[in-house]
Symmetry: C2
Subunit: 313 residues, 2 copies
């Protein structure tokens, strides 16, 4: 098994990516190797500088780099030899079983759509986030930013996809699906959530528990939270800011430590033909490590194949 | 000046409302009296039971009560002598300068629209919430639940109304208006936020600072946060749940204590011809007290008249 990492992606690349790769390599099981994609000489120098054991690390050269601020579609067409398109090329050919990057999120998203493409039947792939639960364990929230405006059938598919993610990657049996809303009653909400509620209610395969509210993000009501990418993005960033506020007020607490983006590492793009994880631009080595480990965990679960199977039905 | 309180509204009424009224009466300045609306005998008994000094308290009898779970429009037409419609009657006639209730939110909202009505020119009145700022002081967020689906011109008006609220009630000079979005760049967001951005950008009277994100709710970027009622509701409930989680983990912190709904007390309906504040169903005496004090503060500022003036332009 080979997991690829964009060594040039992120505000602090290549230092944080190479250091993070070193940390991840120590934790990856025997037989799994890590492919660093980027400018070979730079990566090699950094591996030496940080004195990293490279027995599990390979380098795949990519001549160019897509900057954090570049326009995704333009950059992808003008720089076919940048680390992101090269990574997708390897993933598409099956030479690696996962690809992750803390680089240009737009380019990662557009790149996925143009190279490995959406799974047939999936209207809109989305990005899944993780929320730590007060009662222990984690919940899944989807979408957290890929699709600002959604249609009801798209939310319905998010429920199917995120349920498979919760089941196969987090081992949650029959995950309880909650629809994020402004009240619990069936008739509450926007035109979108009202319509999505009706679709979800009719599903026989989903474990739909109804509407949940902002106060339920961290409690044990639902394992899977469904919302449009606008709402999910606001929720996730607000949760991260809670961690930062606690930190700056010097409040230490093991539960709230899990709100740290570093401990999660990244968020997968789900609904595409491959295992793709995107990370925060500001990713530290610890965050990069956890992004790579998540990518490996998802690869091991064969999640995208399970989603594909589901949408064949 | 007379401030009215629905003595029958809320999960713990009339105990919490009467006790809260007693606490509020102690803090209201000379010359301001509190009008308790509800079943006179019950209120009188509770005033005695809790040994409350009623020198500043009047009772206005209302025969009926609208329950927390009743259908707003139906209940209002079937129970014209309930405390909520009676309260609106007093407000409309100018016999009281403010009316607040922790009772049926829907009935309070519909009641406002049918009795005192929207200010001419205001497309949709909304509910304004308060967020404590890390740097001290408070910010305003609107809408927090009255309008799940919004049009761009409605968001624009929220910016105008909430700015007047921040200015006149919280004394914030030229309040900075931020549009809640999933990214900072102008072109980011939903069709709604993209269109609202263009309207806000063109305004000469607003101090529009652009898009803000979920991480900016509590920081010092914006004094006024504009969003649809769906998003605002999720944000507010999530913030409240943070307080509850810290409480249950026994973390005490003066900043986070302000996340307690009790210390805020209530949220005004803005854009209607009168001063209306609605409270949480679960309101404690402390919450009721703060709701009444907020109602008095708003009455003193003459906010709804200033909004009316603005929309005459």
């Amino acid at each position: 098994v080979k997991i690829a990492l964009d060594a040039m992606g992120g505000d602090f690349a290549p230092d944080s990516t190479v250091q993070g790769a070193g940390l991840a390599a120590e934790e990856l099981p025997e037989g799994v190797s890590l492919v660093l994609i980027g400018q070979e000489k730079i990566i090699r120098d950094k591996l030496n500088e940080y004195n990293i054991d490279n027995s599990k690390i390979e380098i795949f050269h990519a001549d160019e780099v897509i900057g954090m601020g570049e326009h995704p579609t333009k950059a992808l067409s003008q720089k076919p030899n940048a680390s992101i398109p090269i990574g997708y090329g390897l993933l598409k050919k099956g030479l690696v079983q996962g690809f992750s990057s803390a680089g240009n999120t737009g380019a990662m998203h557009v790149g996925a759509m143009f190279s490995i493409k959406s799974i047939e039947g999936v209207i809109r792939p989305g990005i899944a986030g993780i929320v730590p639960k007060e009662s222990g364990g984690f919940g899944v929230i989807m979408d957290v930013g890929a699709n600002a405006d959604c249609k009801p059938d798209v939310l319905f598919q998010f429920a199917e996809i995120a349920s498979l993610y919760a089941e196969n990657v987090f081992g949650i049996d029959k995950p309880r699906v909650g629809l994020m809303n402004l009240g619990e009653e069936e008739q509450k909400g926007t035109l979108l959530t009202q319509a999505a509620f009706q679709l979800l209610k009719l599903s026989k395969s989903l474990n739909f528990i109804g509407n949940i509210e902002g106060r339920d993000v961290f409690n044990d009501k639902a394992d899977v939270i469904i919302c449009d990418g606008f709402t999910g993005n606001v929720i996730l960033k607000m949760a991260e800011s809670m961690f930062d506020m606690l930190q700056s007020r010097q409040i230490k607490d093991p539960y709230f430590d899990q709100f740290n983006y570093e401990s999660v590492g990244g968020s997968p793009i789900l609904g595409v033909n491959g295992n793709v994880v995107i990370g925060h631009g500001v990713s530290s080595p610890e965050a990069i490590k956890n992004m790579v480990l998540m990518s490996h965990k998802i690869a091991k679960s064969g999640l995208h194949l399970k989603i594909k199977e589901k949408f064949k039905e």
